[in-house]
Each structure stands twice: as C-alpha cells, then as structure tokens.
Symmetry: C2
Subunit: 383 residues, 2 copies
C-alpha cells in the first residue's frame, strides 16, 4: 500500500516542421522586407478535438524553443524534459487530457525555425545579417499561418511569459476574433529604457567580439566570449536581489579564503560563467541580436487601447489573465498594471494577479503550484 498518487506517463515529444512562403514573393514582413521559405518548428501535446477548438498556443520566451513539455524518444537518462513540463501534461495546469497544446519555435530563433543561422536560398550560405529584421508581429503572423495549416479555427487560449507574453499581447491586438482567452505572464506592453539598455548591452557585447565578424561567423570561430557575457547580463536581469542573496550571498566557490586574483572567488561568479558557457553551446549569437531587437521594437500600447469593446450580444466574452511577480525588475508589476488598466478601459474581462515571489523575472519557469492553479482555473473555467 502506498499513499503516493499514480503519476501519469510523461509526454512523448516530437519536433515537427511546417514550411511555407515558398514562392518567389516569400513572406512580406512588417519592415517591408521579404523572407521565404519560412519554416516553423513546433511540438504538440494532447489531441485536437473534432471541433478543433480545444487548442492552447504556448508562446516561448526569448531563448526558448518548441520543446515545452515531455521527453523525446531516446532521451538519455537524466535528460531534462521540456521547459514548461511542470505546467503541461495530463492533469497538469494545462491539461493535455483536455487541451491540444501547440508550441512553435519563434521566427528568428535557431531551434528549428527560420532565423539568421538558416540557409539563405539566394546565396546557399547562412543569412547572417542578411536575415531581415523581424518583429513580434511577424512572429505572431507566422504562428497564425501555422494555426491555419493545422486546421485550427480558434484558440481556446494563448499563453506565454516574458517575450512569450509579448506574443500573447500581439495575438490580442492582431487576431482578437481568433482568441477565446489570453494569459500574459511577466511581460509588458513595451520595453522601458532600462530593458532596452540591457538588451543593447547584450548586443554590443556580441558585436564587440571580433569573431562576430559582422554576423558572418558560421563555419568559423563563433563569438562565444561576447555571447557568454551577453547571457550573463541577461541572466542577472532574470534574477532578483533577494533570490541571489538567498542562493549565493557572498559564499565562496571551493575556497576558504580570497584568491586575490581574477579566477573568480564567489559562487555567483562561477554560476554566471557557467550560465554563459551553457548558453554558448545551445544558442546562436545572431538570433540574440534579432530577438532582442524585436522585443525592443515591440509596442502595443496604442493598439491595446483600441481593442474593440465586447458586444452585449456576444455571450462568450474574451477573457484575459495578467500575472506579474513582485520581484520582477525587468517587467515590474507597475507595467502589468498599465496593461490591466488599458484593457479595463475598453471593458475587457481581465483578471490580474501579482504573485509574491523572490526569484525575479524568471519565476514563471520555476515550478510553483500557485501559477499552476491560476492557469488551470482560468483555462478550465472557460469551458
């Protein structure tokens, strides 16, 4: 006899690809530039129902990918599951027994979707800086193309944190009729000067690396040093003073006294270096440039203020859930409140929750029953 609940089998993940805009015209981006063909990598979990309306689109953050949950067949022992595995699965916050979950890798990334490291058909070499600048609008419009391809008529919901939350907001203003609901977590309607500043430092760090070579480094030495520093900067903005004090404080790394040198004495130093190195092995520096720029350009304040008021005839009012974290200093709560106020001014049905957490901006990536309960309640309550 055991008191442990029986755990459902973990999800099996399969990375799929959809390629479009293969004609000579390609896809026209917001900047006016053309791009084609465009491939989006994506994963799905759960089963699409007959009405094709039980779909939840999960939008990943800046350096995320389509592997939101589960394991790939053949994953070695100890391999980590997808980045939101605690949230997505049978009986979890986003219940795959009920919902068909789709997570696409964003345009401009390097995790299977078309981005600066993809082959430019015009030159048969990676795009590098010839990749056209894309926007959060372009990211979302390609996601819509994927939804159409999958025969999806309407989304039960779209959900995402950080840059994923920006995609959620872009969905709200661009395709409102396609949405039953939207959940925006730890995000903002537009970057503050502080957020732009940190992104610019990350870009400058990459571009200062001689190996960056104006973006033409594929096949040669990569700008690993610059990219590692860029990641260290980013990583600090995802944490908080409290979280770092609790986790690291002034603890020394494998030492009892100071080294009086530059090899790193404090655990926080080793941790950041480790984060930098890890990132270099999995992400493309040019993708950092493009995605940070897209998030800096992002600004839905005006369009969010013009969202159509719900009509009285429409019994199925679109619902919004906005979530912020007390210790998120990249997109602080006051920015989430501005979003909520903007939605309320046009009578939208919006709920807001600020979660008390000391782990900073990245809190939504850390298992937390409060977040799971909020999201479960929100999506289940719509049915």
């Amino acid at each position: 006899m055991t008191t442990e609940a029986i755990q459902p089998a973990p999800l099996t993940a399969v990375k799929q690809h959809y390629t479009f805009a293969e004609g000579p015209e390609g896809l026209v981006l917001e900047s006016g530039a053309r791009l084609g063909p465009v491939t989006l990598a994506y994963e799905t979990y759960g089963t699409l129902n007959a009405a094709r309306d039980n779909v939840i689109l999960v939008a990943h953050a800046f350096s995320g990918d389509s592997h939101a949950a589960g394991y790939y067949p053949g994953d070695p022992e100890g391999e980590k599951p997808g980045w939101w595995d605690f949230m997505i699965g049978p009986g979890k916050g986003i219940d795959t027994d009920k919902f068909f979950v789709v997570c696409p890798n964003i345009l401009g990334s390097c995790m299977g979707s078309t981005g600066p490291s993809s082959l430019n058909p015009a030159t048969d070499a990676p795009y590098g800086l010839d990749f056209p600048m894309m926007t959060i609008g372009d990211i979302v419009s390609t996601q819509k193309t994927l939804m159409d391809h999958l025969g999806i008529r309407r989304l039960h919901g779209v959900v995402g944190g950080s840059v994923g939350g920006m995609q959620v907001l872009e969905w709200c203003v661009r395709y409102p009729q396609f949405l039953r609901s939207a959940v925006a977590i730890a995000t903002t309607m537009r970057h503050s000067a502080l957020a732009i500043a940190f992104n610019e430092i990350a870009r400058q760090s990459i571009m200062a690396d001689p190996n960056w070579n104006k973006g033409n480094y594929y096949g040669g030495s990569k700008p690993d040093m610059g990219l590692a520093v860029a990641r260290m900067v980013g990583h600090v903005t995802y944490l908080s003073d409290e979280a770092m004090r609790r986790k690291f404080g002034r603890k020394l790394q494998d030492k009892e006294t100071f080294s009086f040198g530059f090899d790193g004495d404090f655990q926080i130093e080793s941790y950041l270096r480790h984060q930098g190195t890890k990132f270099v092995n999995r992400f493309d520096a040019n993708s950092v440039l493009y995605i940070t720029k897209a998030s800096d350009y992002f600004d839905v304040v005006e369009r969010m203020g013009k969202i159509e008021r719900p009509s009285k005839k429409n019994s199925e009012k679109r619902k919004y859930l906005v979530i912020s974290y007390t210790s998120d200093w990249l997109y602080p709560t006051y920015q989430a409140k501005e979003l909520v106020q903007t939605l309320k001014r046009s009578d939208q049905d919006v709920s807001f929750c600020e979660i008390e957490a000391d782990c900073g901006h990245d809190a939504f990536l850390i298992p937390d029953e409060r977040l799971t309960t909020l999201i479960r309640g929100f999506f289940d309550g719509l049915s």
Copy 2:
C-alpha cells in the same frame, strides 16, 4: 543694481603627488604581497589651520580621481570643474573657507596614483596583472600614510559615496581614533551577490576582449570594446528605472521610424554607447579589474560590529552620517539601514537620511541642495 549674489571665485586645483615605500621592502599589502614605490596623486582645497585639525578627506568613487573641485590653471573654456565642485568650495556644503579638503586618487587607479598601468620597477614595463591585488583596506592605509605625511593629526571628517563610502567605512574600523566624524553616502558594508554579479560581468567583458591579452596591452591595441561594454553595464547600475524613463523613455535618436537594423534606434542606446566610448578614453581596463575586485572583497560587517563603544569621559563623541537614495538599486536603502543598525548596537552617534530621488545610485554626484544642506549642517555642527 543686481539681485544676484556675488559668486566666489572658483577654486584653483593643483594635482600633487606623494611617493613612499621606496625602500626594497616596499609596502606590505593585505594579501601579503609587496608593492613599492607607491605614489598617491592628490589635490587639496582651502587652508590647513595651525592645529592641523580642520581636515576633511574626500574619498572618490570607483572611477573617480583626485580632481574633486575647481579648475586647473589653463583649463580651456567650457572645461568641467572637479567631480564634486557643487559640494566643495567657499561657502559650499564643504566650506573651503573653514576646511582643508584633501582628495587622493586611490591606489590601483590610473589617475596619477600607482596602479596596474604604472611602471613596475622590477621590469621597467607597466605592471599589468603583475600588479598585486589591493583591497579597500590597502587604499585607506595609503591614505593614512598621506595624512601623516601632510602632518595631519586628526580628520574633522571623511566623506565619500559608493566605493568612496566603502573607504569611509574602512576608515571607521581601521583608524577610529583619527576621525572626528564620517559621512557614508550610497554605500554598503559589503557587496550583495547582485553587485558582485555586475562587477563580474564587467570584468568578463574586459577579459573577453582579445586585445586585453591577459593584461599586457600597454603600448599596443587596448581592450576598448570590452571596456566600453563593461562601462555600459556599470552605467546602467548607476541609473534607475525611473530616471531612465524620465530622461529617455522610448525616444528615438535622430529618427522618426525604426531603422530595422543594429545601428541603434533609441536614445538610450546612443547614450550608453557614448558613455562607453567616453570611458575608454579616460580609464584603464586593468584598473577596472582591480578596483571592482577590491570592492567585491570589501566586507566590514564583522569589524563594524566591534567598534568600541564611546566612553562617557569622552565629551567629543565621534559622529556618523549615513545617506541613501530611494532609487539606488545597487546599494539599496536596506543595506544603509543595516549599517545604521550595526553602528547603533554599539551606541554610536549615527544620523541616517534616505533622500527621495529618482536618479539612482549616482545621485550623490548630481547637484542637490538637500545633500549639500545635510553635509554642511553635519560638518559645521561638529565645530
């Protein structure tokens, strides 16, 4: 007839140098390493009185120098005065009609005092990384040597902000009997993990630049790119979300629309790049490594807790003034309060003021009548 007050003539600044530890033994540093000869550049304003007890030592911040006030003879029209000119001068907060002000450039810097860019007498080449690691304790002990050389018997006060404030605190624990008073502004008893993290990013940025060449770049190409990014990181930590929003927000630089490129669209981007470039022209990258490391090592919590209780016989109780800024997120007010509590536990006579200001950590470098009034009142009230 005019209603304008007559402005006193600006101070004339003269950079002086004092060299010591010229013997074969040199100076023994906290790490145990030896260094010699040691030169400190310094400036003085006002007149030393006959009792040699009207002295205020001004300790500069991380990238500061001995030029705290006034102009050098021959300064071109439009040249800026010393970095705390609004505070130091006849009739100002630190009144040079009353006080003899001394501001030394810190050990390890590159503004006239001995540091990694100085000639190593053993090799006749710049030290580079052969410069021994020095601490805030070493910085203060060399300042004490300078005070002794100048025949100063006791300081009316020591005052400084940021890393200058750390020197103030080190003075308090190292030479308490030499102090009549101490003013610590926007500082901390020890760095948080967050502060160490930003310093480590700055160091990694410099060391990632191939021109850094393990510190041996003197006479060749300097690690300008890495140093510029390091400064951009530092500069953001000196500002605040509010200040950046007020000053820059999302304003574009010389453009009406987005460039859809990486040349920089937003004013905050150009501003940071400008700060980076400006710094490269005036500061040495190795000095950044040494001084940031010294500030990371700094920790007076234990010694501050052991400061001797004032004796009842001693009518002239040592006085402390601690000042923090509401928007300083590098050394937030809670850290200043920890300092105040520590001092109070041993019955020290400490005053504390948190100044409401939205301009972040660097607020003490910006003219503010509230700061001037506080400091004037504090130093004048001692006499």
